[in-house]
Each structure stands twice: as C-alpha cells, then as structure tokens.
Symmetry: C4
Subunit: 197 residues, 4 copies
C-alpha cells in the first residue's frame, strides 16, 4: 500500500486543526484595546497550541519520509494520533477562556500526553512493519525527546493543581525543546528530567 493518501489525509486534518483554533478567538464587540484584553490568555494558549500542532506536523513529515509502505494497522495508528490532535482546539479554548485555571491546564496536559503516546504507538507500529534494521528504525533511534516529553507532561499535569502557570511553563518548555535543534540542550533536559524524579 502506498503512503500518498495517508500523508494527504493527515496534512488535511492537521491543517484544519491548526486553523479552526482561530475561530475560538471570538471577535470582541468594542473597538478599543481594552476590548482585546480578555482575549490575551486565549491568544497565548492559541500560540502554544499552534506551535505544538506545527511540531507534530513537522515530526510526522520527517517520520513518513523514511516510510516505504503502510498497512491497515499503520493507517489506524495514524487515525488514533489524529483523534487526540483533534481535541487540542477544545482544550486550548477551555484553558484560554479560564485564564489557565488548574483543571483546564491539567486537561490540556493530558491531551498533550495522549498525543505523545499516540505518536509513540505510531512509531512502534511503523518499526514493527519495517523491521528493527530498517532505515526508519535507525532514523527514529532511541527517541529520547519523545520519552522525556512524556515525563514532562506528567509533571505538568500534576503541577497544574499546585500552580497552573508553572504547568503551562513546563508545556512551553517541551515545545521549546522540540523547536531548538541543539543536541546539548536536549541532553541537558534529559539529565535535568532524570534528577527531577
């Protein structure tokens, strides 16, 4: 089975998810800067989620490049990932409209956690299909970043109930880790994470 339509469908769904979030930026009635003020937390959560979805598209793009063929199991692992990504607009809006309150911030982290688990399942399914010696398996490697992210999300969810801004700081930190392509930062984060446990 060729991968063309898997990529096209994923691109379509991810493009819609990243774009419909802007519909939650409800147009205010006033025409002053003051009318925009209540939108600031909504806008901040929009930026964070936009970056997260872009990271997933980016990683999905890289991952699929090394893929040679797909099967039914892979199609479903991919749909499973898209399902969790599709919930990001909802939790983004809930968190933004409640000024990063504890429970919305925890739910946001939980959705990020399930996205990360779904991505991990997708990579495992792909490796199972291509073989442990394949170019794909070598390209994915030990996937430190992915596993560190999982741990960080759990820390973030727990922190939400203590200080939800700190939790969102953790989520932003994970996003930054994926954005900055410096290997040393990655290693530092890994060791920091290990010492946090």
């Amino acid at each position: 089975m060729v991968k063309g339509r898997l990529e096209a469908f994923s691109d379509g769904v991810i493009a819609i998810i990243i774009t419909i979030m802007v519909l939650e930026l409800k147009v205010p009635h006033g025409e002053t800067f003051a009318a925009l003020t209540p939108l600031i937390p909504v806008f901040l959560s929009y930026i964070l989620s936009f970056i997260y979805i872009a990271i997933y598209w980016n990683n999905h793009h890289h991952l699929l490049q090394a893929v040679r063929h797909v099967n039914g199991r892979i199609l479903w692992a991919n749909v499973h990932l898209l399902f969790w990504l599709s919930l990001i607009p909802f939790v983004t809006a809930w968190m933004g409209e409640n000024q990063f309150a504890p429970i919305p911030a925890a739910l946001y982290g939980a959705v990020l956690l399930f996205c990360a688990i779904a991505y991990l399942i997708l990579t495992i399914t792909l490796i199972a299909h291509h073989g442990r010696e394949s170019e794909l398996a070598i390209a994915i490697g030990r996937d430190f970043k992915g596993k560190v992210s999982l741990a960080f999300y759990v820390v973030g969810i727990l922190l939400s109930f203590v200080n939800s801004w700190l939790a969102c700081g953790i989520y932003a930190l994970v996003a930054a880790m994926w954005l900055i392509p410096d290997r040393r930062i990655e290693r530092t984060l890994v060791s920091e994470n290990l010492s946090n446990k």
Copy 2:
C-alpha cells in the same frame, strides 16, 4: 480520466468533516470537572462518529487503490457518498446534545444507513466500469461486511424507539466489526445477524 483529483477532493472533504465535528464540543463556561459533565454524551457521540468517518476514509482508500480510471458517473457516485457523510456532524451533535434520545438516535442510524447505501452504489458503479472480471471486482468480492452493516443499521433504527442506548450499542458493534480485522468475528456476526431475522 485519472483518479488523482477524485482522491484529493474526497480526502479534503472527509478531513474537514472529521475535524469540524470538534466545533460541536462547545467550550463550557466553568473551569471545574463538573462543567465538563454535560459534554460527556456529546463526546461519546464524537468518538463514535470519528471512528465511522475514519472507517469510511480507510475503506475509500482501499477501494480507490484498485481503481484504474474514472468517469462522470463515478464522480457523481462519489459526491453522493460525500453528501451523506457531510450530514454526520449534524446528527452527531443532535444525538449528543439530547443524551441519545430515541429520534436523534434513529436519525443518526438513518444517516449511517444512507452512507452505507451510497458506498454500495459507488462500488457497483466502479465494478460496472471496470468489469466483473477486473482486479477491483475480485478485491471487493461478495462484500459480506457491507451488506451485514446495512441490516444492522435497520435493526438499530428500529431499536431506537425501544431503547436508544441499545441502538447506539448496535452502531458501535458495526464500527467494531470494521475495526477488528478478524475473519471469524465477521462470520459470527453474519450468522448472528441471519438468526436475528
């Protein structure tokens, strides 16, 4: 006529249908778990419909792989399928917001039934164009699952007026039948369905 744009257009429409459903998950005003409670039936119907649309994309993907060329009749049979699929977000939201009440559950089943009929028409149109001896006709085969699903939807619609939760259980069962690629389960369901009549 080549099939490239037929696939691209279908991918686009299905990607949008599966994604805009999340817009019906209206962001609650409160910031507590209690604020999320009324959303549970909406969320359950979202999951069911997400799986159904993913199944249709999956099957469409498999079906089109064996297609060699398309004509005007096939384009319209495909648009007809997309029309019924496009109604899923509406019936999903209606069913979810009314806690799986009888009439919404029956209408949900009716839309699933028409989607299945439209899919059947599409396969018949494709076979008529490619010939009964074509690779496509052999790949589709006798299409047991498709015909069993039709019968189950009718049972579900009728059951809605008796017990709408049972009806939704039937819809979930059909979805599970498409998800689980075990041939024995498929045969069991066929015989169960026959003994139900």
Copy 3:
C-alpha cells in the same frame, strides 16, 4: 508554470466551501421530529448548493484536465471564481433561514450568476493562453450549457420578485441540466430558453 498546486488549492477551497455549509444546519434544541421542521428549508437549500458546488468541482476537474500550463492571469481568473463560490454558503443560509423569501432568493441567483460569469472568464483566459486550435478550446466548444445557464439565472433572479419558489425551481432546473448527461435534454432546454425570450 505547472498546474498541480492550482488544482490542489482549488480542491482545498471547494472542499471546505461544500463542507462548512453544514455548519449552518444549527442543531435544534428539542429531540422531536417537530424540532427538525424549521430546518427543512435550510436543508433543501443545503442540498441545492451542495449539488451546485459539486457541479463546479466536476466541471473544474474536466476543464483543468485539458490544461497544459498556467500563467498569472489564469491563477487570478481561478481565484476570482473561488471568491464567488465562497459566497454560496452565506446566500444558502440566508435563503434557507428565510423560507426562500424573494430578496434572499434573488441574491442566491445573483451569486450563481457571478459564479457562472467567473467560470466563463476562466475558460476564456485558458483558451487565450492555449490558442483557439488547442485541444482545450475544442473540448470546451461553443459551451451552450454555460450560456444557457447565464440566461436562466437572470430569469430566476427576475422571477424571485414574482414567485420565489418558481425562481428556485429554475435554479434546480439548471442544476439538473448539468447533472443529466443527455444531449437531447440540453438542446431542448436551449430551444425552450430561446422561445422564452
């Protein structure tokens, strides 16, 4: 310049237009059949517009198949067509929510008229680029249907102020003319149209 992205972008925009119309089918609050009654005109106008947008996608698909190369002028003629198509969801909802009242029905016809004019401009621009002797020019031919449609839309718009249901009947007739691939029906419609003048 290759035509690949022109097709991809048009497919994307048309797929979104045809799908977001369903968002105007606002979920009713009641759970009875009676709750659906006010939606009937909205649903009828949805079906009509769904068919129209599918016809445009279909014709666009056929038209672009004979296209060999594109230039800036063609890109803009295409964007101009997409602009008018993008207004269809708005006029569809306005007409549906006002039970096919005169002015909404006239505006609906006006948008259809401008879509048809934009399509005509696109074909003229394509022929100007490919030459009068090109395969494309021969494929388009004298474009009877296109010109008859223009006349019918004008008749429909004028009729809206007399009897708006009759106007919508005209719009439905034009759609049927494009759906039914019988050449004799086409000729009959042409002569009827001529005798109407």
Copy 4:
C-alpha cells in the same frame, strides 16, 4: 528533503484561512436588503482580506517553484508565515464589525506587516539554503515590491489614528500593486514612497 508536503500543508492552511473568513459574514435575521446593510463593512473587509490571502498564495506558489530542497529551518519559517496569515480572519472580522474604526484598522495593518516580515524571513531562509547565485535568488531579485509594502503598512498603521479609511485605502493600494503586473506602476509607487519619507 522534498518540498511536496510543505506545499500541500501550506495549500491546505491557506485554503482554510481564505474560506473560514466567510463564516464571519453572519446570516442576518431579516429578509430585506436593509438587513444586509450592516454587513457592508464586513463584506468590504472580507474582499480585501480575500485578495490579500490570494496574493500570498500566489506569491508562495511562485516562490516555491524555484525551490529545490527544504530543511527544518525552512519548514519553521513557513509555519511562522502561516501563523500570521491565520490571524487575518480575526482582524478582518474585528475591523469589519467596527466599521473600520482606528484601533481595529491599525491592528489589521499590523498583522499585514507581520505577514510581510514573515514572508521576507522565508525568502531569506530559502536564499541562505540555496545560495546567492541560485536560480531562486535571481528569481526573487531585490524584491522592491516586498520592501515597499513594508513601508506602506507602517504608513497605514500610523494613518489609522488620523483617518482609518485612508489607512484602509493604503492597504487596498498595496494589494492593487501586487495585483497589477505593470512594472511602471511598481516603480512609480517606489518613488512616491521614497518621496513620502
């Protein structure tokens, strides 16, 4: 890394942005022409933004044609552009619903300015990857239009607080400059802009 999915994802996001703006044209309750009157500024701002997004798609299309290969930096420069474009529906609706009031008009100009800066960053990133002697670098050239546009947006933002209609006239002028492929007009605008400083 090939550019196929970068184009497909960008096409998807831009197609959605250009189309969801029409959702801000809220269907009025009355059925008269008078009911449409309050929508006129919203519609005017819709047209302006539709043209702007079409220009960006057009330019993106031209730019990517000369691109041979992409890297992670380019993917992110592209996502950065899509982020600013994704804000256009919001500022369009805010400006339209407030009849082109000063602050909404200034914010609209600011988003246009950031889109233009993001586009400039994308071209610089592409040239850095392809080399100053590449076909791409030559095709982009000195990019007079791009730099003039930046200056005009700043002028427009400042003018918003004096006369917001004049500011919108400036934005429309910049759009016209990109639409009209006459080199003399371009040069005239450049010299006018220089004499304005």
